[in-house]
């Protein structure tokens, strides 16, 4: 959905940049299902959490490094899993994932996440 919105916004850049953002938000709010909005909110949270941990590692301390790796990779891994869930359940991609029902996609996502967290908490120390 979003790529379409940006491509429509580009030609009128000079005159209505705020309008472009507004129309982007508007189009996003109107055309995105609440389910995908939940997914997007979770993705933003994971991204912010990862950024905070990375900054803490660079600016404050990378000790214990295993804890940093566990915390940071839990964010990255969860982000990847959630992003793939989003692309699988997006109605716009239905043609591509004909064989994958949304239930199946969520089950894969949940299974993958549980395995990821198992490793993360083992590695956290």
């Amino acid at each position: 959905m979003t790529p379409k919105a940006t491509s429509t916004a580009k030609p009128q850049q000079a005159t209505a940049a705020p309008n472009a953002l507004e129309s982007l938000l508007k189009a996003y709010n109107e055309t995105t299902s609440s389910r995908l909005k939940t997914v997007d909110a979770f993705l933003v949270f994971l991204m912010l959490s990862g950024i905070v941990q990375f900054l803490y590692c660079i600016l404050v301390t990378n000790f214990p490094f295993n804890a940093f790796l566990a915390g940071f990779s839990s964010c990255v891994g969860q982000f990847v899993l959630t992003a793939s869930l989003r692309s699988q359940v997006n109605p716009a991609n239905r043609a591509e994932f004909k064989d994958v029902s949304p239930e199946r996609a969520f089950a894969d996502f949940a299974m993958g996440s549980i395995v990821l967290h198992f490793f993360v908490f083992n590695f956290l120390g």
Binding site: S34, T38, L46, Y56, P64, A67, G71, C75, Q78, G125
Partner: protein, 443 residues
């Protein structure tokens, strides 16, 4: 009751009778026939008074052998045979070295004549002057020949007390750079070794000294009595002239009314040679973690380790080993191939004979050794090596819940919580969506 007292008395007498030496009381004196035993009565009687058991033998006698069935028969050997050219079969330079290896102490006397002993001297890093060149000195002015010289005793570990000058007549030696060898009596600065006992060779000496002194056997760098502490712990003392020990020199006056220091000096030299003085030993070493008492086979990297050594010194007056705290410069090494840690091992104040240090083990795992290697001239070498392993922490030995890591913990926990909340929302939303989709389908 009587028998018990009797036993105590016997024990007391036995301890009285034991030698003052820390290694044994039997002494073999190999005395060449030319020398009269009675001329050395002060020296020998002094040894007997201390509790030594003297056995005399001529160099060519076969009995008693110094080594029998591969075991040395005497604790100490005095070789007063400076001019003997041929010995019995059991006394060769090799057998003397073997004696030293087998912890027998040697007191060796050489003279200006060429003997088997002069060829043994280079093995001890001693360089003797050419045959027939005794030490001469024309100072101070005196009525004795130039070869009979009063020598001032400079303080050294073996002779600690201040002694009057010592009469000496014999040869000097120069000491090569051997850490086991040290001078006990140095030659007077104005003395020199020269060809002739008269002054006919004096011009040659003057000529040599004008050329910068090269090849000149002179000065206080020469040594008259030198001590050698073998690696095995036995001691050998080389003396440049046998007359040092004679009664005549012991009673001869250096100044009117002042007796020479020969008696005390000879006694001190014998005491050092026979392991009475400057004899040390490590009784035991212990190691443990700080605040624990048990010695471990394996320590963890970065552990705080306490190492303690107990050291005794032999006291010849009581014939007993007594705790000794007088070493100030001892070091401990914690070694794996190289010393990873080298630290001072100071005496513990208030605890006699105890030396202790606390140090942090290196952050390196492997097989390490606690090494004490204390070698000082004149003193018994102290060597000790204790092996321990140093292992990394066990899997549960690392610190946990570090405050610095809380952002990471919170990150991981919040991701998991987020996953649960997301899943709950998804599943809850699923119903709504499906209802909606059903509704839309119905429409």
């Amino acid at each position: 009751m009587f028998s018990r007292w009797g036993l105590l008395l016997v024990l007391g007498l036995a301890s009285w009778a034991t030698a003052k030496s820390s290694t044994g009381d039997s002494v073999l004196v190999i005395l060449e026939p030319k020398l009269d035993k009675d001329n050395f009565s002060i020296f020998f009687d002094g040894l007997r008074e201390k509790g030594y058991d003297l056995t005399f033998r001529a160099p060519k006698d076969v009995e008693p052998a110094v080594i029998e069935y591969d075991s040395p028969q005497f604790s100490h050997v005095i070789l007063f045979a400076p001019e003997t050219k041929s010995f019995a079969n059991d006394i060769t330079p090799q057998s003397l070295v073997t004696l030293l290896e087998k912890k027998t102490n040697l007191l060796l006397v050489v003279s200006s004549k060429q003997t088997p002993l002069t060829s043994l001297a280079p093995e001890f890093s001693l360089v003797l002057p050419p045959p027939g060149t005794p030490l001469l000195s024309h100072f101070p002015e005196r009525d004795t020949p130039a070869t009979v010289i009063p020598v001032n005793v400079s303080p050294n570990p073996v002779v600690t007390s201040k002694l009057p000058p010592v009469w000496f007549s014999g040869i000097p030696f120069s000491l090569q750079n051997n850490p086991l060898l040290f001078p006990i009596l140095s030659a007077p600065p104005e003395s020199f070794a020269a060809d002739s006992e008269g002054d006919s060779g004096a011009e040659a000496v003057v000529q040599v000294s004008e050329k910068g002194g090269e090849g000149l056997w002179a000065g206080s760098q020469m040594s008259l009595v030198a001590g050698f502490q073998a690696l095995g712990g036995s001691r050998a003392t080389w003396v440049g002239g046998v007359d040092l020990f004679s009664d005549e020199y012991a009673q001869k006056e250096t100044k009117p009314g002042v007796k020479s220091g020969n008696k005390e000096f000879a006694s001190a030299v014998a005491a050092w040679t026979f392991q009475e003085s400057l004899a040390l030993r490590i009784d035991r070493v212990t190691h443990h973690r700080v605040n624990q008492t048990e010695a471990l086979q394996a320590y963890t990297t970065n552990d705080e380790i306490v190492f303690t050594a107990h050291i005794s010194k032999f006291n010849s007056e009581t014939s007993a080993w007594e705790p000794f705290s007088g070493i100030q410069d001892m070091q401990l090494e914690f070694t794996m191939l190289d010393p990873h840690i080298r630290t001072a091992l100071p005496p513990v104040p208030g605890k006699a004979g105890e030396y202790s240090v606390t140090f942090r083990a290196p952050d390196r795992h492997g097989v390490f050794k606690f090494v004490i290697n204390h070698k000082r001239k004149g003193w018994t070498h102290l060597e000790s090596s204790t092996m321990v392993s140093l292992v990394p922490p066990r899997h549960d030995g690392y610190p946990r819940f570090l405050s610095a890591a809380w952002p990471y913990y919170i990150g991981a926990i919040s991701t998991s919580l987020g996953f649960f909340i997301f899943s709950a929302l998804w599943l809850a939303g699923d119903d709504r969506e499906s209802k909606k989709s059903k509704g839309s389908k119905a429409e």
